[in-house]
Amino acid sequence: MKITYCDALVIGGGLAGLRAAVATQKRGLNTIVLSLVPVKRSHSAAAQGGMQASLGNAKMSQGDNEDVHFMDTVKGSDWGCDQDVARMFVNTAPKAIRELSNWGVPWTRVRKGPHEAVINAERTTIVEDDEAHGLITSRDFGGTKKWRTCYTADATGHTMLFGVANEAMKQEVDIRDRKEVLSLIHEDNVCHGAVVRDLITGELEGYVAKGTLIATGGYGRLYQTTTNAVICEGTGQAAALETGVATLGNMEAVQFHPTPIVPSGILLTEGCRGDGGVLRDVDGYRFMPDYEPEKKDLASRDVVSRRMMEHIRNGKGVPSDFGDHLWLDISILGREHIEKNLRDVQEIAQQFNGIDPADEGAAGWLPVRPAQHYSMGGIRTKPTGESQKLSGLFSCGEAACWDMHGFNRLGGNSVSETVVSGMIVGNYFAHYCEDHEMTISTKAVHDAILKQEHYIEEILSRTEGEDIFPIKKRMQKIMDDNVGIFRNGDSLQSAVDELQELLVRSKKAIVKSKTKAGNPELEEAYRVPRMLKLALCVAYGGLLRTESRGAHYREDYLKRDDANWLKRTLTAWPDDTATLPEVSYEELDIMKMEIPPAFRGYGAKGMTIENPLSQKRQEEVDAVREKLEAEGKDRYEIQAALMDYALPLNYKEKNERLGVGYE
């Protein structure tokens, strides 16, 4: 049996995993990264629009700082996030982007003097300061007060991923691709590594480590229409869930993006609207200002997606072979802007739809409809990134729920989170690996490998049963139809019922080719039951949550219910033969929040069932602020008095900004 030992095992080689691996390797820990695909092909490469960091260099971002970014993130999350974590994040993001700049990410820079921009569908001239020339610039994105999203044209994820992967190579991190983690090795609530299948040879191997970190990205492929890459199947979260010990957090919190192109579901970045593009209906009418007079096309993602579906339901969609859709118009930005800053978007539209979005008028309009995009839920961890239940297991990036996005994540906050959490969690993870020894017996490792080996043999030995592909397709259809943008008790219940039945059937599916290597059907056969378990966590968590918060929208419970639902859903799967997860809840403590729950700023007021503590805490916060301001304290001191938080290394230090220094 092949067993590999290392100090730090990182599962997943996207932005989060690679950045965490750099953190451990730099501390002298022998680090191995495992990935399904060559790491530079990880899904992070597909991020287009940009990374949020409150640098405040460009004219439209002046006055930005950690406090503004924090406020946007908390509001964006519909108060579902962990505010400690959001604070840790906003203070580290400027450092993260500056580090990436040193690693060679060619961020688009500020150019002094006048340039044209389209704001609220009107051409405007903006004049950039001389002092800002050459610093990192930023664009507008939904749900943010300032232009905070830094970018490299519309290939931001690609350049970031190459920058971090190059750095990992420079640090001589041992990166191994075409390796799939099937399960975690654990004993007495401590994680010791993973059982891994080589996707070329089909061989099973054990990886034993002092600490294990999962950074396997999201679970978008539980859905039929998704912007996610085909490898985003949530198998990392499933491995954690199948320990029966680790818990997943808020799995029902799933984001739908407003503008994937129809029919392929390929994303057109939020940068399209950030840069001034607008949504239009069947009559060519710009409808978003009617629904959201203030934020218009740039309201939070969950809000825009719902408004679009509502508008389609009102009969204003554009009929097509692929169902009704709406139009995204970026032609108003002009050819020059599109060919420079939105080139991938143009390429996608030309290649897949034969439309040049720079063509003037309706000829350049792009067909769009909301689809699954981002997984706020994931492996539940403490702010250090360690599982609350299974020690030695860490997680960061989209795979985790540490939880900075709550029930809706802001555009540009995710790639930012990946590197920031890679820095922070990577550091806590390194400490854990330094403080712990490998204690597991060889026998326990062998048993874990044998268990997977027997499972694969059992699958190959089945002679009668149904195909696996239709089961997977059915799951994806159910998730789209019943666990989507609009949810209600009946549809969620029917989803839960049928998914349970599919889970039972999936465990009996047959595989036609009996070889162990290069057998794609075998891979489906062992992955689909795991995906179904996750799908059940999403659907069941959604059924039980009888309120609407952020992206979780219940037509039968329209209000955000702070009195009863200011809590995180935790799911665990202790009994492997069960068809439903065990569900428990974790309260959010209003009295510790820096910003207690309030009106989010979208739709009508009065859509919240208030928690009396919100007002109480608000009064407390106001009093502290007033007193400290009178005493002449600065914003850092006031923040510390309201909600102190910790960060490793020099990440807690202040960030310098143009014109204001460290103020």
Binding site: W103, G104, P106, W107, V110, T201, G354
Partner: protein
């Protein structure tokens, strides 16, 4: 006609199947018939074949949007990203698909471009070389916006390998660093963060497996899905590095 309107035709696929790890497997073309659907790409078509006709067919896709560089294949003789290739572009409905040469074959249409690109990246030391210590709490170093844009242009390579497959030298000389490798050198040469000198780059690629191996056949640039100016950059690097001889 919009590209999404073609439909209903019967397509004939002919796909080279071979499993080098199976002693009994021999390379052979296998034919599949599929009904065309609107807007069909080879990503959709190959998955349909796998779901309904041949569960054993291996191929690689990740982003299915022309962004990640996973799906290079030789399609009717031309190296292309399969996910970006529409069946509607083939008037007679006959589509032959082969794996890309120049890379290690894993199985059927799946080749190990990752391994090749990793070796290339290590060879050209594809990372920033600098002894400067930066304090990340301070303002970042300003970079000329044009230089940042130009570095970005060269950073757009997605390591798909289409240029390598179309390169006469790369097919003849397995150690040739390839158009992608030479482009990578040009990228770091352009980047002000990287302090390497021309002499340093000469050390890395100043030989016939490097910059002097290129025969200027131009096929690389024709096939690059990101339209990188490979020819111009290779010529430029050659002029610079000749001076180092």
């Amino acid at each position: 006609m919009s590209k999404n309107e073609s439909k209903g035709r019967e397509l004939l696929f002919s796909i080279l199947k071979y499993n080098p790890r199976d002693p009994e497997s021999k390379p052979a073309f296998v034919e599949y018939r599929l009904t065309e659907t609107p807007g069909m790409t080879l990503f959709i078509a190959l998955n349909k074949i796998r779901d309904s006709l041949d569960a054993d067919l291996s191929f690689d896709f990740v982003c299915r949007a022309g962004i990640c560089g996973s799906c290079g294949m030789v399609i009717n003789g031309k190296p292309l990203l399969a996910c970006r290739t529409l069946t509607a572009d083939y008037a007679d409905g006959k589509i032959q698909i082969m794996p890309m040469p120049a890379f290690e074959l894993i199985k059927d249409l799946s080749v190990n471009t990752g391994k090749w690109m990793e070796a290339m990246s290590k060879r050209v030391e594809s990372w920033i070389h600098s002894n400067e210590v930066h304090d990340i709490t301070k303002l970042e170093e300003p970079i000329d916006p044009d230089v940042a844009d130009e570095t970005f242009e060269l950073d757009r390579c997605i390591e798909c390998g289409l240029c390598v497959t179309s390169c006469g030298t790369a097919l003849m000389r397995p150690n040739f660093v390839g158009p992608a490798g030479l482009n990578r050198v040009a990228r770091f040469q352009m980047d002000p963060h990287d302090k390497r000198t021309d002499a340093d780059f000469y050390e890395l690629v100043g030989d016939d497996d490097g910059i002097f191996g290129c025969m200027s056949l131009l096929a690389c640039e024709d096939h690059c899905p990101k339209h990188l100016p490979l020819q111009e950059k290779i010529a430029y690097m050659r002029r610079k590095l000749v001076a180092q001889r």
